[in-house]
Point group: D2
Chain length 339, copies 4
């Protein structure tokens, strides 16, 4: 951490700051200039509160050098983390497609979609039982009943279940769920993150619509600090001024995250765009940018979907897309092998 | 709602859509053009799922005309809602300052600050007991103990307590809290909103960093749909590309909300800017733009604050500011009286 | 266009609006509701000023249905536009790489880079002679001299020149330039766009940092309305709250533009990210998303580049990248051929 | 400037960087850590190209400490700049209202509006002759004829003229214009800024929709570096995800700019909101936040305005607003006098 300080080291306020930092067992290297002094902090500054430092009146600016996350940091853990979900691996060169409807609507619906997407190449199944909806008057999901239907579909297909948790009070229903999804709107629901740090299931952590890549990693750090290292990150679009798509897929987040963290990163092209015709180009782009997986909405009859039908693929479209995804993936692997 | 449909009314897909809508007891007026048909929907379209409509392949675009919120809508409830907190009124011409530290740190701290801000003109006291922090390694608040100290401060000063709820599992601690704050990061924690709809305490609902004004009203609608009409809206800055301030205070949200809803709207200039020297100009601007109140961070010793010291005012600065706030407020009232 | 009107058709203000529209030879279909009336406008509404309509006090809202651009609109011109630059085609299934340094620094530099990138597979050469720099104290380019050096490099390699025009007063220097680039900051320099509409050279139009896809198309429309149909669109990142990359590449813009327009669309991964290690993943993603070309910064010695060295590739990296680009491109073409 | 360097000072790449900087007569203080070295640069780093530094492979990050602008910097020029426009002063405690129509439509129109707004308290007159319009099919202004009408209105009322320049080729028409406006879309038209640096007229520089406060100051610096110190800054809203208003007025920009620069700052509440009912609250907020002036659109008949009628006030509304503006301004001055 570098702190820019107004005035000289002999000023009262500057001395106070120096003592305050040193009391935290952090060594400070001081560079004195004419009107400004620069403090270079050496040691573990992760727990140093940047806001507390800024509140000293002598401080003009503070620049963090060390990242504020440790367990999620690639510098501390060079090797890619591989998450094993019921035998299917994600990360470290392993790629998976997670597919299924936005909402679980009936046992028949989820079972037939699961069978179809498995046949097309998806190994994990998604489906919303507890649904976050902007309007209190919209369909809120089948809840516990929806989880039961997902379990039926798992029994038939052997596909692990990925589904969203909206409230810790529903956690009891998630015993047979394989991957617990934290939705974009709950990315900074710190109470939930802390609690999920205590379980040992993989967590699919979606990036919030207005959250930076660093904040996504800090939320992963919350889960990991609690003892659960099985975090899968998910880029699903951020909110910008552009209105032609529901959100703007931040494709750069994939390579940026690959540099900063060892955790696997998957992409949700369905929620990112909100438009089914954009799912294919965004999915292929994500693979080409190095994603470890995709989570795609598929519905047997999109125009009857109880939510988000506009962004769901029908089964024939998903089959075609899966074929292309695997081709682009092969192409990417051929680059690695050529090294 | 207006739906733009590709093709003619005699096409199969268009007919299907028409039947689907009419089955929901909504009357459709049809305007046929050459390549497009326009459907005008008449009736209560609040519960109509815009995404479901978009998923029909015949649909080119859907434009909502009626707002998707009812209870929060000024059209349904012309008169300003007045929220009464322990005898102090907010809204409908009533203005209040809520002041106090970011975090409750000790009994002495909160009591001394409460006394000071009350003397300066604040009628309600704020102070964080459960603190949402981006880093798991940062100070997380005194929790239940913090609530106890707030109650002590209330006993001494008579000031109602405004404090943030981070998890429904902590709700038991909030029995003596007067206003429950829903933080920006929980604005779309729908499980929490639903539960708060069942209590009868005033809720201070902060706008999320990436949430639109309409989404803020939809979150208020969640609380109101549950039966609790006591919602105070709070603008506290949105996330933009500008980095000179922590967030960008959306000052226009005040008059826009005044047109769209009857609920009171207050402003948090401390979190909006993140810089104490900006609190005064933003606070005065908010009053001039018509806000019903302000929530301001004040600390007895900002450079020792355990969080957000950089944006806290010290007590002498708050006293001066409060004087100016009341002067600008008087000026605004003189305009009303002149009508 | 659909206009939502307050009140009934018999109200004075509503009648005035109706007459005003009909005076423009546009037919209006009227749907009367209880409190609102809906006008459906039939005919060419491109020239209708949406702001003028909104200024009628009876108007509650206006929703455009028809796009405000005609010549750039795919609906009016289904077939992909192919731009021929000195024998090299862009669009309609033709893909090109444009490569070269951010700034032209010397004859030797541009000639050696041109030879190297041509050998690696780039067919067009880029290089800035007139440089837009945020600071008046930064290197502003070699100007006319830089253009001369580009011409030398063209003589040697046969590569057409792509370079940026910053002011109409420099247009005389551009006689031998093959593609005139309009930079992101000039995307809405309407005087420049109008003038370029009068020339018959291909124009590379970069999307502004805060401009929507629709505005990009409106700027293309300015050039085309003047008579020059040779417009190549370029996505180069938009400004968002995310700070890990210089800009956020809007990868979705590629498929969205493919639907809306017949003009070719290329991507600039160098400016989008500002970081050389991100150029490869973003370039490959752009190809997978369907881009018609790429414009990439390459330097013989990036750490001595006079501007934007941080985002430039060195020549060996570019060679490797070009190979991968052509592989992903082949993969994409195999999908087309499989249809 | 602080540079974070990977590795030790004895590494080849680090040494190269050190020599490169020292060759520019900048002294470097070196702090060696375990894995990183910190360079503190002492001297005038304004002309140092941050991108050039980032392109050295040893560099991990660069943090600017000194602002990149000099002439616009309050640190170099503590006293407020006062701009004198035909006897009317702006800045340094002097406040002015600039009012008039979006577009000049006829001699009668501009003269009658000018008389009315002057009577109401505006001292300067605005009116667009050259109009930047998103669509090539929209009204583009009366151009030179419009300037003639503005001059007529000036003759009658004595009000100085503020009007926008869209192209340097039109500069000859601006001899009798008192303040040349650079529109938001041209804020980074560096060729134009350089040319305006050579004239001695006051320049009204509007902030671009996606430009930071620092970039606004860098554009002012372009003009000042050319020798023209008469720059008035104008905040007119930035582009964000919020769609309820055309742009989001960045009210915080006023106090931030007051700290960073000595130049006067005015606010345009009409373009910021795009909605006439929001002009009053935003105008009053701007005054309360410390603006040195306002530029407001006024029309004799907003529903017939050839552009932007939706955001124009009619004359009675402007008269009422002007009265309120002066009251809030008085209130603000009373605070200053009380010091």
């Amino acid at each position: 951490m570098v702190i820019i300080v107004k005035g000289s080291i002999h000023d009262r306020g500057v001395e106070d700051l120096l003592k305050w930092i040193e009391a935290k067992n952090i060594k400070v290297m001081v560079q004195e200039g004419v009107q400004k002094t620069i403090f270079g902090l050496i040691g573990d500054t992760t727990a140093l509160d940047i806001d507390a430092i800024k509140s000293f009146s002598a401080v003009e600016d503070v620049k963090r050098i060390q990242e504020p996350y440790k367990k999620a940091n690639r510098k501390m853990h060079m090797k890619d983390t591989v998450i094993n979900v019921g035998g299917y691996k994600i990360g470290g060169g392993n790629f998976q497609i997670i597919a299924g409807p936005c909402s679980v609507e009936s046992k028949e619906q989820i079972c037939s979609i699961a069978k179809a997407v498995k046949k097309a190449g998806a190994n994990l199944m998604r489906g919303g039982a507890f649904k976050p909806r902007t309007s209190p008057y919209a369909f809120q999901g089948l809840k516990a009943e929806g989880i039961e239907y997902l379990k039926e579909a798992k029994k038939i297909t052997g596909m692990p279940i990925v589904t969203e948790l909206m409230s810790l009070s529903d956690l009891d229903c998630f015993n047979d769920v394989d991957v617990i999804q934290v939705g974009a709107r709950n990315m900074q629901n710190f109470s939930m993150l802390k609690e999920l740090g205590k379980c040992n299931k993989p967590i699919l952590l979606k990036r919030g619509l207005a959250n930076t890549i660093e904040e996504l990693l800090m939320s992963a750090e919350y889960i990991m600090a609690g003892g659960n290292d099985n975090v899968i990150l998910c880029e699903r679009g951020i909110r910008t001024f552009e209105q032609a798509t529901r959100n703007t897929l931040d494709i750069s987040a994939i390579p940026v995250l690959k540099e900063k963290t060892h955790l696997p990163i998957i992409v949700d092209p369905s929620h990112a765009s909100g438009i089914s015709s954009l799912v294919e180009p965004l999915a292929l782009a994500a693979v080409a940018a190095g994603a470890d997986g995709l989570i795609i909405e598929v519905h047997n009859n999109p125009s009857c979907a109880l939510c988000d039908g506009a962004q769901s693929l029908d089964i024939p479209s998903f089959e075609k897309l899966a074929g292309k995804i695997f081709k682009v993936r092969e192409c990417m692997l051929s680059f690695k092998n050529a090294l």
